[in-house]
């Protein structure tokens, strides 16, 4: 049985002793944020977005001033205003309609956005997205490589890390493509079958949606568990794309319960990261984009820096834990065999 506590504590110690393992993930998180800000600044969207949110804030302030004024409590429309404001995220609230009217009455010019939707900005957006995806993928690969190197007690110098990463990048990419086909092929096939069944008979079509939904769900969970260790197998055992998938498939045979436990732990780390770190990080990044006050922006920048570092460490820890569990899992499998 995999010892979760032992793997967790050891992963913690590895990260504590090799803090630079977190650098690739830090870069992979930083790159999209920098490119996002660059795009908004260079494209000319930034001042427009700041202006829009300043107008929305003014509208909000007027609403809250009205609602907080005790003289207005007895107004006939007060309860409706209050409910609309509290439930402003709900589709049944009039808040968005009123905001739309406020913007129109204030002669807010939406045409300026259309002017910015030009070829130059589109090319910049596509280029930045491309750089962001390629860069994040490369840094993810570097993160896996550096973790595997730490487990093998190799020297983590820059040149060596780059060399090992370059050695793995094509294999990781091939594995991702293979995984995509493994997971997507049955879904595409099922959609095809369901659509053709709809042409034959509507009731059969509806029933087949239900049936295929359950089947695909079961398929995704089963293969998700069986191929759970594909990435660590590739990096730790230096395997090829298809052989690491095969190795994970063979290794997890008959041990799905333990894979579920490890998977749940990783899911728990993800939930922890999303709720405590990721959400604040992305909200603060958004605030930095729309905020005009430089004092607030300095504070937002500091908060982003703190959460970015934290997210890098937690994300890296998640990878280390996956790799450590894999090594532990393999040892147990060898003992059983």
């Amino acid at each position: 049985m995999v010892d979760i506590k032992k793997d967790f504590t050891e992963s913690f110690e590895i990260l504590k002793n090799h803090k630079k393992i977190a650098i690739p993930i830090f870069c992979s998180l930083l790159l999209p944020i920098i490119l996002g800000f660059l795009f908004f600044q260079l494209s000319g969207f930034s001042p427009l977005i700041k202006e829009l949110f300043t107008t929305i804030n003014d509208f909000d302030e007027q609403k809250t001033d009205y609602l907080l004024d005790l003289d207005n409590v007895n107004d006939n429309e007060y309860p409706e205003e209050l409910i609309n404001y509290i439930g402003k995220d709900s589709s049944s609230s009039n808040y968005n309609e009123e905001l739309g009217e406020y913007l129109i009455n204030g002669n807010y010019d939406w045409g300026r956005y259309k002017e910015l939707l030009n070829v130059q900005n589109l090319i910049m957006l596509i280029s930045f997205l491309f750089i962001s995806i390629i860069g994040s993928f490369y840094f993810s690969c570097m993160s896996f490589a550096i973790i595997a190197m730490a487990f093998k007690n190799q020297d983590l110098n820059f040149d060596k890390v780059i060399e090992v990463t370059n050695n793995f990048i094509i294999r990781l990419f091939s594995m991702k493509i293979l995984m995509f086909f493994i997971f997507m092929a049955p879904i595409i096939l099922s959609i095809g079958i369901v659509v053709s069944l709809f042409f034959i008979n509507t009731i059969i079509g509806v029933l087949s949606i239900l049936l295929f939904f359950i089947l695909i769900f079961a398929y995704l969970i089963y293969f998700g568990l069986r191929l759970f260790f594909s990435v660590p197998a590739l990096f730790v055992d230096n395997k090829g794309a298809s052989s690491s998938i095969k190795l994970s498939y063979n290794l997890t045979k008959g041990h799905l319960k333990q894979v579920i436990i490890i998977g749940l732990m990783i899911y728990g780390i993800n939930v922890f990261m999303n709720s405590v770190i990721s959400q604040p990080l992305y909200n603060s990044s958004f605030n930095l984009l729309i905020e005009i006050s430089w004092i607030k922006n300095i504070i937002n920048f500091m908060v982003i820096s703190i959460f970015l570092v934290l997210e890098s460490f937690v994300f890296t820890f998640e990878h280390i834990f996956l790799f450590r569990s894999y090594i532990d899992f393999k040892e147990i499998d060898n003992i059983i065999k």
């Binding site: 979760i4 506590k5 032992k6 967790f8 504590t9 050891e10 913690f12 110690e13 590895i14 002793n17 090799h18 730490a150 487990f151 093998k152 007690n153 190799q154 730790v236 055992d237 230096n238 749940l264 732990m265 899911y267 728990g268 780390i269 939930v271 922890f272 709720s275 405590v276 770190i277 959400q279 604040p280 909200n283 603060s284 605030n287 607030k296 504070i299 937002n300 908060v303 982003i304 703190i306 959460f307 934290l310 090594i327 532990d328 040892e331």
Partner: protein, 166 residues
């Protein structure tokens, strides 16, 4: 194939707290803080529920007020996130190093490992993540405390921790 170090850089750190209470574990409490585990009094669901209520009153409520007040006064949402993060760090520190959250300490409970030592930071983080899982499965992870012989919730089982009377 290269040799995999299954225990990298762990030569001077114990993964499992030693039976010898003076052995240094990873960020664990001092030996003086250990609880005698020869006949432990495991703490059940309801008393821990009361401790959680006390935590809500002593920690969550003031933190919530400070958080809302700060965000309202400054208009900077980010400060609210920092306060939430500080609270998570505080809970992990209290459980790992001080042996329990304020509510548990007031109720005379301590969170310990098999050897009766405070669990340390890594296990406290693991326990915190375990609590998320306990909550995610419709709180069953918490209700387990009620019927488990050693009064362990799912998070206690994951972190191999026990809540005992001091």
């Amino acid at each position: 194939m290269e040799e995999i170090n299954t225990n990298p850089d762990m030569a001077n750190t114990s993964q499992e707290p030693s039976t010898n209470s003076s052995a240094p574990g990873p960020v664990t409490a001092t030996p003086g803080d250990s609880i005698d585990m020869t006949n432990p009094q495991y703490q059940g669901f309801w008393i821990r529920f009361v401790a959680a209520l006390l935590d809500g009153l002593i920690v969550s409520l003031p933190v919530g007020i400070i958080q809302s007040g700060l965000v309202w006064a400054t208009g900077i949402d980010s400060l609210g996130y920092l306060i939430s993060l500080a609270m998570v760090i505080f809970i992990i520190y209290m459980e790992g190093i001080q042996g329990g959250t304020p509510g548990k300490l007031i109720m005379g409970m301590r969170i310990v490992n098999e050897q009766g030592q405070y669990i340390g930071i890594p296990s406290a983080i693991l326990r915190y993540i375990g609590k998320i899982l306990s909550a995610l499965i419709l709180l069953i992870g918490y209700f387990m405390i009620g019927w488990d012989p050693k009064k362990q919730g799912l998070h206690d089982k994951i972190a191999k921790s026990y809540v005992v009377k001091k």
